[in-house]
């Protein structure tokens, strides 16, 4: 089906993507047919209330979950047709994740947490380089328990970017942080996008974050309500918290 083939220059393409949890009257329609084009190298912010489907979309195109119907492509790789093993491969080679609760390995130091990824990635940068990128060059031999929340989140970002990912997924990356640390984390994401050219997709409740994005997608009731492009982007410092 040649017409379905995504255009070049797009990181993600979805067509008629749905996700249903449960069955019968109790079924929850998390996604109700999502069509989407995400160009390479953009910062994309997904906004919307809880349960609007934004995290579900992120999970499907991040290779963590499967769609009920429809298609999703990463470049020209059809994600909806991959086996579990191939999805693991996809995450390993192309995707970085940053979560609200950091999800660091408590038994590994900051450096080792990053090395956890660089040991298995195809074309990684060094752990030291990744940690320097997030401004943590000094504290890389500390364990997570010895780091503040913001520092832990920066380690998580370093871990996500160390493999030189094509795309960085961030689910509520500043949700557990105060405004100063939150801004610092957004700075790092901005830098990663600028320096590595990775597509950065951020799911958040914080509408103000949208000001730093190239593109903002508004979600409601499992569908895209609107997509806007920011003609001028704000620096994270200017964002109201």
């Amino acid at each position: 089906m040649a017409e379905d083939r995504p255009d070049a220059g797009l990181t993600f393409t979805t067509r008629g993507l749905t996700k249903v949890y449960g069955e019968g009257p109790a079924a929850v329609h998390a996604l109700r047919g999502v069509d989407l084009n995400i160009p390479d190298g953009e910062i994309v912010v997904l906004l919307g209330p809880s349960g609007s489907g934004k995290s579900t979309l992120l999970n499907i195109i991040g290779g963590l979950d499967r769609a009920s119907s429809g298609r999703a492509w990463f470049r020209d790789l059809n994600l909806t047709e991959l086996s579990d093993r191939e999805l693991t491969r996809y995450r390993r080679d192309h995707v970085g994740f940053v979560f609200q609760f950091y999800n660091l390995m408590p038994s590994l130091t900051a450096r080792e947490n990053v090395e956890l990824v660089t040991e298995i990635a195809a074309d990684p940068m060094s752990a030291e380089e990744a940690l320097a990128l997030v401004g943590l060059g000094e504290r890389m031999d500390h364990f997570p328990a010895q780091l503040s929340g913001g520092e832990q989140q920066r380690v998580a970002i370093a871990r996500a970017v160390a493999k030189n990912p094509n795309v960085l997924f961030c689910d509520e990356p500043t949700g557990a942080l105060d405004s100063t640390t939150g801004r610092a984390v957004l700075h790092v994401l901005n830098d990663v996008n600028a320096k590595l050219g990775a597509t950065v997709m951020i799911v958040t409740h914080a509408a103000a974050t949208a000001a730093m994005a190239h593109r903002v997608i508004h979600f409601a009731d499992g569908a895209i309500r609107s997509v806007e492009r920011n003609s001028t982007r704000q620096s994270p410092d200017e964002i109201e918290w």
Partner: protein, 788 residues
């Protein structure tokens, strides 16, 4: 009206129902074993007591050559004697159709009319013999069953050298023959020894002891002391060829039953406590995890104004609920299982009835011990509840602190990748928890390897006894001591390769207050077929002076080489000898004593006499040899080694012996339970980390390594410890099971430990596969979204 916290309790219990049920089951199995075993012990003892009482089993047995009836009056006058009764008893040989060997039997008289005052029998089939009909007999039920004999069948017997035909008119059980053993043999065997009861007149005539009795039965007054009565009875019967009176505890059947009950008691005191300890350990881990996971809720509830105590009580109730449920379930199952097992034992011990009585104390003990064990585990956790302040509890937990495990970093870093470092650091951070799992698995493994090494110990007992110590194929017993020339006659038989004479006499061995009623085997100078051996299995040459004692016998008499023992000979002119103990021999079956045949005969003033012989026979010609032996009137009995061995095997595999298999199986189950739980708990604790690994691109196999690496190390640490514990336990349990009837050798058994280790490894692999399945199924999204 339930409080809100109680509602939460019920819902929490429902939520962890799988784990709660697993723990309750462990508790239940512990209580079940306790209730079942104590119930069985109680029932066996109660049934034995009632059976003995109802059928008036004598307290003292006093064999003699022949004493007139009037002597009974003198026996009755002995202080402490409640009743005395005489009976006639003698040996018989039964010629069983289709059997190549005659079967030894004991004929016992019963009064022509009415029940005997002592040692009554329980008629299971048919009827008693009719007065005046001399050819009617009542046969021991166990023997009849072993040979498929029925009422109305005929028995051909040789008694006192004469052939007689009998008709079986009844079958009976008797408390004095719960176990039957042919004279000179150690192992009970239903098939190879018969008891027939017959009319006193007929038996007296057959044995030529008219107007006399040759065994006195005596019942004691309640509280009477045994020793003075035995002494008085011996004095009275001495002029009538008394062969030494003995108490019930030296009676063969009772001695076996006592040993069986003792074996059961050993098992019942070892197994249930182990289950309780395992249950406490599991409860501790589960509740600890629960409290950790609920720290937020605990903080919240405390913030509402609930006191530490109220919150602690809430979790304590959960522990109690699980423990009490398990204990009650165990009680119910214990009664059921006890009843079922008691039925099995009733058949096995041939009790005509069974008084099933559960020990109420076992319920109380079971419930109390479960609750205490569970509480002990829970108390550790509840300390944590007290320490949580509302503010701390409501903040998300900080990442576990691994900074103190960093000391090994530099050395580790060189050769460990990150997943391996995770495994090692987790172990270093929480050595106590790892140690708990290691010890738990090691105890389980130790218990099963100890049981296995016991089982192979039994095999070794059989191999040594019937292969190394006794190398004969057949043993022959003469009707009475014969001149040594009769051995030459045996040697002439076609097919007989080697013959070794033996002179066996009944004696009571004494050392001060210690005494043992047994036998002395008079052997040739250099025995080759039936030997006394050193611990290196070298033949001990029979010394011209002194006696060689089996280690078990030396222990009973509390003597060592160089000490002097007193021998009261129970045959012939019945001398009392003082002889030095020259050597201690290794034996595993029975508690024999050995002397030089010539020395023994000289002491008896019966030179050149033999009472039997050991034969080595050409295997192909055994039927031929048996046919000749069967026709020799001087031969009272012929025993085949293989039969004795098989009987011993049966004895070890049934009754109390069966418990050993049950215990080995249970130990295996415990081991698997702990291994699996260790894996599951580790999975629960690391679920988030594992999901994170999956998300950042680790395959399920790579992720499983982080989880199962720990399990592998725990198991590897547990294996050597398990070997050590097993080795120690096998000594303890072997000592518990060893009796003067058989001893269990304990030594390092690589095969037993290999099997147990293999079982642990298989348990670990199965647990690993089960948990890996959970890794495959884990919901990555849900796990990452929750904050623990």
């Amino acid at each position: 009206m339930l409080s809100a916290l109680d509602h939460k309790l019920l819902r929490d219990l429902w939520r962890i129902k799988g784990q709660a049920a697993a723990i309750a089951l462990v508790v239940a199995v512990g209580v079940l074993l306790l209730v079942m075993m104590s119930g069985m012990l109680n029932s066996l003892e109660e049934t034995r007591r009632t059976y003995y009482e109802r059928y008036r089993l004598a307290d003292v047995f006093a064999p003699a050559v022949g004493a007139p009836e009037q002597v009974l009056e003198r026996l009755r006058a002995v202080p402490g004697v409640a009743a005395a009764e005489g009976r006639v008893t003698g040996a018989a040989l039964l010629d069983m159709a289709g059997q190549d060997l005659p079967v030894r039997a004991r004929a016992i008289s019963l009064p022509a009319l009415g029940a005997p005052r002592l040692n009554a029998i329980y008629l299971t089939d048919g009827r008693m013999f009719t007065p005046g009909r001399t050819g009617e007999v009542v046969l021991l039920k166990g023997f009849a069953e072993a040979h498929g004999l029925r009422l109305g069948d005929h028995l051909r017997a040789t008694m006192n050298g004469a052939r007689r035909d009998f008709t079986i008119v009844g079958m009976a059980q008797a408390p004095e023959f719960l176990f039957t053993t042919a004279p000179g043999e150690i192992v009970p065997d239903d098939a190879r020894f018969a008891v027939i009861w017959m009319n006193r007149e007929a038996l007296s005539a057959a044995l030529d002891v008219q107007g006399a009795f040759n065994e006195a039965l005596i019942a004691l007054d309640r509280g009477a002391r045994l020793a003075p009565v035995l002494a008085a009875v011996d004095r009275i019967l001495d002029p009538h060829g008394g062969l030494g009176a003995y108490g019930l505890k030296d009676q063969i059947s009772d001695r076996f039953l006592t040993e069986e009950i003792r074996g059961l008691r050993v098992s019942s005191s070892v197994v249930p406590p182990i289950f309780m300890a395992v249950a406490a350990f599991l409860l501790y881990i589960v509740i600890a995890r629960l409290v950790q996971a609920e720290r937020e809720q605990i903080g919240l509830v405390k913030a509402f104004g609930y006191s530490d105590w109220e919150v602690a009580l809430h979790y304590f109730k959960m522990v109690l609920a699980i423990a009490v449920f398990g204990a009650l379930l165990g009680c119910a199952l214990g009664i059921w299982a006890g009843r079922a097992m008691a039925g099995v034992y009733q058949d096995f011990y041939k009790f005509p009835f069974l008084i099933f009585r559960v020990d109420p104390a076992s319920f109380v003990t079971g419930v109390l011990v479960s609750v205490l064990a569970a509480s002990a585990g829970a108390l550790w956790v509840l300390r944590g509840v007290f320490r949580l302040t509302p503010a701390v509890a409501m903040r998300p937990p900080a990442p576990a602190d691994f900074s103190r495990t960093g000391a090994l970093n530099e050395r580790l870093k060189g050769w460990l990748d990150q997943p391996s470092r995770m495994v090692i650091r987790r172990i270093l951070r929480n050595p106590g928890r790892i140690a708990g799992a290691v010890v738990g698995i090691a105890v389980g493994m130790g218990l099963s390897s100890a049981q296995l090494s016991l089982l192979s110990g039994f095999d070794r007992t059989l191999d040594l006894t019937f292969g190394v110590i006794d190398r004969s194929d057949v043993s022959v017993t003469f009707v009475q001591p014969m001149p040594s020339g009769s051995v030459h006659a045996l040697r002439q038989l076609p097919g007989v390769i080697e013959v070794e004479p033996v002179r066996t006499i009944g004696v009571t061995l004494r050392n001060g207050a210690q005494n043992y009623r047994g036998a002395i085997n008079g052997l040739v100078t250099q025995p080759r077929l039936n030997r006394a051996v050193t611990s290196q299995m070298d033949t001990i040459a029979m010394p011209r002076e002194g006696v060689v004692l089996a280690r078990a016998l030396a222990d009973i008499l509390q003597v060592k080489a160089g000490d002097v023992v007193q021998l009261d000979v129970l045959e012939g002119r019945r001398p009392t000898l003082e002889v030095p103990v020259t050597r201690i021999a290794e034996t595993l079956l029975g508690a024999p004593a050995f002397m030089h045949m010539d020395t023994l005969n000289r002491a008896l003033r019966e030179p050149g006499r033999v009472s039997g012989a050991y034969l080595r026979v050409d295997g192909a010609r055994i039927p031929e040899v048996f046919a000749v032996l069967k026709s020799m009137p001087t031969v009272a009995g012929v025993a085949r080694r293989e039969d004795a061995r098989a009987a011993m095997q049966t004895l070890m595999d049934t009754g109390a012996g069966m418990m050993r298999y049950v215990m080995a199986a249970i130990a295996g189950i415990i081991t698997f339970g702990i291994v699996y739980n260790a894996a599951r708990i580790s999975f629960g604790e690391q679920a988030r980390d594992l999901a994170s690994l999956r998300v950042i691109g680790f395959s399920t196999g790579e992720t499983a390594f982080v989880l199962l690496g720990e399990l592998a190390i725990v198991v590897l640490l547990a294996l050597p410890l398990g070997v050590g514990i097993g080795h120690y336990l096998s000594f303890l349990i072997a000592a518990g099971f060893s009796t003067d009837i058989y001893q269990i050798p304990t030594r390092f058994r690589p095969d037993a430990f290999g099997t147990a280790a293999l079982a642990v490894i298989v348990a670990a692999i199965v647990s690993g596969l089960l948990v890996k399945r959970d890794i495959n199924r884990v919901d990555l999204v849900a796990t990452l979204k929750t904050r623990e």
